[in-house]
C-alpha cells in the first residue's frame, strides 16, 4: 500500500469460516461461503483434475466438489465429508472438508506470512497464518485453490 492512495477504508478485520482438513485447521473468507451441508453423492469426472471428487446436484446447479484432502496434499479418506459451497469468479464450487469449526473475526495485524513448515500444495493455497488460542489457523486463498485445479486440467489435456 503506497501512501499516495486515497484513504479507502482498509479492513482491519478478516471474517473467516474455519474447518478441519486432516490434521490442520484451515479457513476461507466467510463472505464467499454460501452454504454448508453434509456429504452427498457425487458423479466422478473421468480424466478430470485429481482433486475434483465429482459433480453434485445443488438444487439443479451442477457444482464440482473439490476434495480438500487431495487438494492440500493429505491422504484421502473414504468419508463423505462436509461440503462447503462457495463461489468465486462467477462459478460455484464445493470444498469437501472433514469437519466444520467456528466463524471468527481475525484482526488483520494478527495475520502472519506462512512459515516454511508449510510446503507443496498447501503453500500455493495458503495466504496467511493466524495463531488462535487453540492452535494455528491456515488462511486459504479460494482463487489459488481453484486456479490450481485449472492447471491440473490443462496439464492433463497436454498429455
Amino acid at each position: 500500500m503506497t501512501v499516495s492512495l486515497p484513504s479507502a477504508p482498509i479492513p482491519t478485520i478478516r471474517r473467516v469460516c474455519m474447518f478441519v482438513v486432516a490434521v490442520r485447521t484451515f479457513a476461507v473468507d466467510a463472505g464467499a461461503v454460501q452454504e454448508v451441508f453434509r456429504g452427498t453423492v457425487t458423479t466422478p469426472v473421468p480424466r478430470g483434475p485429481a482433486a475434483i471428487r465429482g459433480l453434485l446436484n445443488l438444487r439443479g446447479r451442477i457444482v464440482p466438489a473439490v476434495d480438500m484432502r487431495r487438494r492440500l496434499g493429505f491422504d484421502p479418506t473414504a468419508g463423505e465429508g462436509i461440503h462447503v459451497v462457495l463461489s468465486a469468479n462467477g462459478e460455484t464450487y464445493s470444498l469437501i472438508v472433514d469437519a466444520m469449526a467456528d466463524v471468527i473475526d481475525i484482526p488483520m495485524v494478527a495475520i502472519e506470512k506462512p512459515t516454511s513448515a508449510v510446503d507443496g500444495a498447501q503453500r500455493e493455497c495458503i495466504d496467511g497464518v493466524y495463531a488462535a488460542r487453540g492452535g494455528l489457523v491456515y488462511l486459504l486463498s479460494i482463487e489459488a485453490i481453484l486456479a490450481g485445479l485449472g492447471e491440473t486440467a490443462a496439464e492433463r489435456k497436454l498429455r
Binding site: R47, G54, N57, I62, G150
Partner: protein, 826 residues
C-alpha cells in the same frame, strides 16, 4: 443491432465513461439512453421493412405516417440526449419524409435509396453510442446534403413531368397490414425515364392524416438551434408538428408498435439471467415433483391410507408443475420474425445490385424458437437468402426468355414440424445443374465416376455441402451455389439441426433447414461405460451397432493402418474409439479377441469431418435432457459439453463428440480438397484384399472395395429359392453364392452349423459369397497379375509367396446379381 433487443444483466451502455451531468444522476440517464437504443433498434428494423414495403406501394399513407413518426421520435430523443449528428440527419430525413407525406414529391428509387441510407446511418450512429457512449467522428454531412439534394431534385422532377409511375409490376394481393406477410417487389430496373414520361399522372393520395407542411426554409442543413428548437421538449409522446391530429397513440413507442399496439401494452422487458434462473428453478421443481410422486406411490408409503387427500394434492402439483414447465420454456422463445425482418431490406438491396427483380414472400414469421438459436441461424439463413437472389433467380431477361414472369419469387416459410422448426427457402430460379455438381464431385475425388453415375440427383446435390466444394470450382460459375454452403451446414448441425436441398433444373431450388426448438433441452442417449453413465447428444449420432458375441465376423474389428482399431461398415472403414480407454475407466466393451468375444455398442458419430464409432458398454435409454453448464476447468478437458440432472437427481456428464474425436485423434474423413490420395489410403484402397478360404479349401481374395460386411448365419437360415441359396437379412433376400461353384463348377455342400458369408457392396446387388473362414486383410507387395485370368478370376496376387486368386465378383455373379438386386418384400 438485434442483440440490443434484450439486454442481459451486463449492459453495454453501462460501460460508457461516466461524465458529470448536472442534476440528473448518471445512472438514470444511462437507463434512458439504453431504453432509447433498444427501442430505436426495433424501430429501425421496422423502418427497413416499411421503406421496402412503401417502395412497393408508394401510396400507403399509413405506412408513410408510421415511417415519419419513427424518424421523428428518434430525432426528438436524440435532441433530448444531445446527440447532434443523429439530430441533424434525422432532421433532414424528416424533412424529406414530410414532403413525401405531403405529396410534394414522389417516392422513386432515388428517394427510397437515400432514405435507406439514412436508416443505415442512424443504425451506425446508434451502434457507436451503444459501444462508446458517444456519436463518434464519422461525418454524415454528405448524407444530409444528399437528402436535401434528392429532395430538391424530386421536387424539380415533379414540376417538370408530374409523373409518378414508380412500379412496373403492380403487386397483386399484398396485405401490408398483415405483419406476418411482407411482400415486396424489388426491381433492378434502375431509375425510370424522367425525360419521356408515360402519361399516367397518378392521382395523389393525400394521407388520411391531417398534415401541416414544414417550413421550406428547413431544407438546407439545419442549424443546431433549429434542432434544439424542435426537440427541446424532449421525447414528446406525440409529435406536435404534423401528426397531432393523426391516430398516433403508439407514437411514443414508434412504428414497430404501430401495427400491433396491443403488444407494447402487454409485454415487458425481462433480464435474461432472471429468465434463466426461473427455468432452472422450474427444473428443480420437476425433480422434486418426481421424488414426491415416487415417495407417495411407493407401496410402503403409509401416507397413502392415512391421507387420501395427499394423492389428490400430488396429482395437482403434478399437473401444475407440468404447465409451469411448459410456460417457463416458452419464455425463452422468440418469433423467427427477428431474423426474417431483415430480409426484405437485404433482398431489396441485393436485387438492385444484381439487377434482378425479386418478390419476397414471408410466411410463418411468428413461428417461435429458443432465443439462443435465433442468433445462431441468422447468418446461415442470410447466406441462403443471398444465394437464392444472387445465384438462384435469373435476370429478368433470362426469365422472360424462359417463359417465366420477370420477377422471381423467393418464398421464406417457417413452421413447426414434429418438435422441430423447419425453415424453407424456396426460389423459382434456374435450379442447380446437377451434372456439373456430379462432375465436380468426381473431379474432387469424392466419388468415383461409376459411383457418381449411380447416385440419384438428390444425393448428388448434397455434395455442395462439402467443404470448399465450389469455391474454386467451375460449378460456381455455372450455378454459383456452394460457396460457404459447408459453413451453413456446419453452423446448423452445430445446434443439432440439419440442412437439405432439392433442386429442379429450370424450376428452382428449395433449401430446408431444420432446427430444434431449443438448445436447453436436447434428445440424448444415456450410455453406460463401466460403472459410469454418460449422455450423448443424439444430434451427432448416426446409428448404433451392437458388437455381440458370436457375431465377431459381422463386425470385424481389424487393426487399422496405424494400429488403431477400425471396423468395416458398409464398405467404409470406421475408426473406433473405446470410451473406457479414452476416459481411463474399467469397461466391459471389447473388440473381441481369440479368447474374448466382442461385446459392446458402437455409437457411430458424424461430426464435422469426423465419422467414427465410440464403443460403449451399452445404451441404457434415450431421453430428453436439460443441458446445464459445467465449470470452465472441466470444459477445458475437451471431453464434456456439460452435464444434466436425471430424474432421480443423479448428475450425468454430457460427452462432447467433437472433443472426443480430437482427443482420440480420429483421422479426418478425406476432405474435398485434393484428398484423393488420403481417400484411397483410408477408405477405398484398391490394393487391399480380403483373403478367405473357400468351402473347398481354396485360397481366394476379394477386393476390399467390393466387400460390404462379413456375416455369419446359422445353417437353418439358408433357404433354397429359384435354384439358389438365399438368406433373409435386413428385410430382403440375399443370394449366397458358392465360390467353388463359380470357380470350378463343383459346388460344395453346407456342412458346418454356421455359414460365413462375405456380403458384397450393395452396388453389386444383394449377394454374399459363402466361405469357410475369413483369414485376413492384406495389401500385396506386388500388384495383381492380370495375366492369370480365368472364369470368375480377376487375376492373382502373391500372399506370403502363395498365389491367390482374386475373385472377379462382377463377372462371376451376373445372374446372382440380377436376381438379387430385386428386393423381395419380407
Amino acid at each position: 443491432m438485434a442483440e440490443t433487443r434484450v439486454y442481459g444483466s451486463g449492459s453495454p451502455a453501462g460501460a460508457r465513461p461516466r461524465a458529470a451531468t448536472g442534476f440528473r444522476p448518471m445512472n438514470d440517464n444511462e437507463e434512458f439512453v439504453r431504453e432509447f437504443l433498444v427501442e430505436s433498434a426495433e424501430n429501425l428494423d421496422q423502418l427497413d421493412r416499411d421503406l421496402v414495403a412503401l417502395e412497393e406501394n408508394p401510396r400507403d399513407a399509413d405506412r408513410l405516417a408510421s415511417i415519419f413518426r419513427t424518424v421523428h421520435t428518434i430525432k426528438g430523443t436524440s435532441g433530448f440526449f444531445g446527440f447532434a449528428k443523429l439530430g441533424a440527419i434525422t432532421h433532414s430525413g424528416e424533412h424529406l419524409l414530410g414532403q413525401l407525406r405531403d405529396g410534394k414529391i414522389d417516392l422513386d428509387d432515388d428517394v427510397a435509396g437515400v432514405l435507406l441510407n439514412l436508416v443505415d446511418a442512424v443504425r451506425s450512429i446508434l451502434d457507436r453510442i451503444e459501444k462508446t457512449g458517444g456519436e463518434g467522428d464519422e461525418d454524415f454531412h454528405g448524407l444530409s446534403q444528399t437528402l436535401a439534394r434528392v429532395s430538391a431534385e424530386a421536387i424539380r422532377r415533379r414540376e417538370d413531368g408530374g409523373v409518378v409511375v414508380t412500379r412496373l409490376t403492380p403487386p397483386a394481393g399484398i396485405a401490408p397490414s398483415s405483419p406476418a406477410v411482407v411482400e415486396s417487389t424489388v426491381e433492378a430496373a434502375s431509375p425510370l425515364p424522367i425525360e419521356a414520361p408515360v402519361a399516367v399522372p397518378l392521382p395523389l393520395e393525400v394521407p388520411d392524416v391531417a398534415v401541416a407542411a414544414e417550413p421550406p426554409a428547413a431544407l438546407p442543413l439545419p442549424t443546431s438551434a433549429q434542432i434544439a428548437e424542435s426537440t427541446d421538449a424532449g421525447p414528446r409522446p406525440l409529435p406536435t408538428d404534423g401528426l397531432s391530429a393523426g391516430p398516433a397513440p403508439a407514437a411514443a413507442t414508434g412504428a414497430a408498435r404501430a401495427q400491433k399496439p396491443a403488444v407494447a401494452e402487454r409485454s415487458i422487458r425481462v433480464d435474461l439471467g432472471l429468465l434463466g434462473s426461473l427455468v432452472d428453478l422450474v427444473g428443480e421443481l420437476v425433480l422434486a415433483r418426481n421424488q414426491l410422486e415416487s415417495t407417495v406411490r411407493h407401496p410402503a408409503a403409509a401416507s397413502r391410507d392415512d391421507h387420501p387427500e395427499l394423492i389428490k394434492v400430488v396429482h395437482r402439483i403434478d399437473s401444475v408443475t407440468a404447465a409451469l414447465q411448459a410456460a417457463a420454456m416458452k419464455t425463452r422463445m422468440q418469433p423467427i420474425e427477428q431474423v426474417f425482418s431483415k430480409f426484405p431490406r437485404i433482398v431489396r438491396d441485393l436485387a438492385v445490385t444484381c439487377r434482378k427483380e425479386v418478390m419476397l414472400e414471408i410466411d410463418g414469421a411468428d413461428t417461435e424458437l429458443d432465443r439462443s438459436l435465433i442468433e445462431t441461424i441468422r447468418d446461415p439463413l442470410t447466406h441462403l437468402v443471398r444465394n437464392a437472389v444472387d445465384h438462384g433467380i435469373e435476370s429478368p431477361e433470362v426469365r422472360v426468355a424462359r417463359g417465366k414472369l420477370p420477377a422471381g419469387r423467393l418464398a421464406l416459410r417457417a413452421y413447426h414440424e414434429s418438435g422441430q422448426v423447419t425453415v424453407e427457402i424456396r426460389d423459382d430460379g434456374g435450379g442447380i445443374p446437377v451434372e456439373a455438381v456430379r462432375n465436380k464431385a468426381v473431379a474432387r475425388g469424392l466419388v468415383t465416376a461409376e459411383q457418381a453415375a449411380l447416385l440419384p440427383d438428390d444425393r448428388v446435390l448434397q455434395f455442395i455441402f462439402e467443404p470448399g466444394f465450389s469455391t474454386a470450382a467451375k460449378v460456381t460459375d455455372v450455378s454459383g451455389r456452394g460457396v460457404g454452403m459447408d459453413v451453413v451446414r456446419t453452423n446448423i448441425e452445430a445446434i443439432g439441426g440439419s440442412v437439405d436441398i432439392a433442386s429442379r433444373p429450370g424450376l428452382g431450388t428449395t433449401v430446408r433447414v431444420r432446427i430444434p426448438l431449443t438448445l436447453a433441452i436436447i434428445p440424448a442417449l444415456i450410455v453406460s461405460c463401466g460403472s459410469h453413465r454418460f449422455a450423448i447428444p443424439q444430434a451427432a449420432v448416426r446409428e448404433l451397432i451392437a458388437l455381440r458375441a458370436g457375431a465377431t465376423a459381422s463386425a470385424v474389428a481389424v487393426e487399422g493402418l496405424d494400429g488403431a482399431p477400425v471396423m468395416r461398415l458398409r464398405g467404409r472403414l470406421l475408426p473406433l474409439v473405446f470410451l473406457g480407454d479414452l476416459l481411463g475407466i474399467e469397461a466391459t466393451a471389447t473388440a473381441g479377441s481369440a479368447d474374448r468375444p466382442a461385446h459392446g455398442t458402437v455409437v457411430v458419430f458424424s461430426v464435422d469431418d469426423h465419422v467414427f464409432g465410440l464403443v460403449v458398454d451399452g445404451v441404457a435409454v434415450s431421453e430428453d435432457i436439460v443441458v446445464k453448464p459445467i465449470v470452465a476447468a472441466l470444459v477445458a478437458l475437451g471431453l464434456y459439453a456439460g452435464a444434466t440432472v436425471r430424474g432421480d437427481g443423479a448428475v450425468v456428464l454430457i460427452l462432447d463428440p467433437r472433443g472426443i474425436a480430437q482427443a482420440a485423434r480420429v483421422p479426418t474423413r478425406p476432405a474435398a480438397d485434393g484428398a484423393a490420395d488420403s481417400a484411397a489410403a483410408f477408405d477405398s484402397n484398391p490394393d487391399r484384399y480380403l483373403v478367405c478360404e473357400s468351402p473347398a479349401g481354396r485360397l481366394i481374395a476379394v477386393p476390399l472395395d467390393d466387400v460390404a460386411r462379413l456375416e455369419t448365419f446359422p445353417r437353418e437360415r439358408i433357404q433354397q429359392a429359384a435354384g439358389q441359396s438365399v438368406v433373409h437379412r435386413e428385410g430382403r433376400l440375399t443370394a449366397i453364392a458358392d465360390v467353388d461353384g463359380v470357380l470350378c463348377g463343383t459346388p460344395t455342400a453346407i456342412d458346418a452349423p454356421g455359414v460365413t458369408a462375405v456380403i458384397l457392396a450393395s452396388a453389386l446387388g444383394d449377394v454374399g459369397l459363402r466361405v469357410r473362414r475369413i483369414l485376413e486383410v492384406v495389401t500385396p507387395e506386388a500388384p495383381i497379375n492380370r495375366g492369370l485370368r480365368g472364369r470368375g478370376v480377376l487375376g492373382t496376387i502373391a500372399i506370403a509367396g502363395r498365389a491367390t486368386e482374386v475373385i472377379d465378383v462382377r463377372a462371376a455373379l451376373p445372374g446372382a446379381a440380377d436376381e438379387a438386386s430385386r428386393q423381395v418384400p419380407a
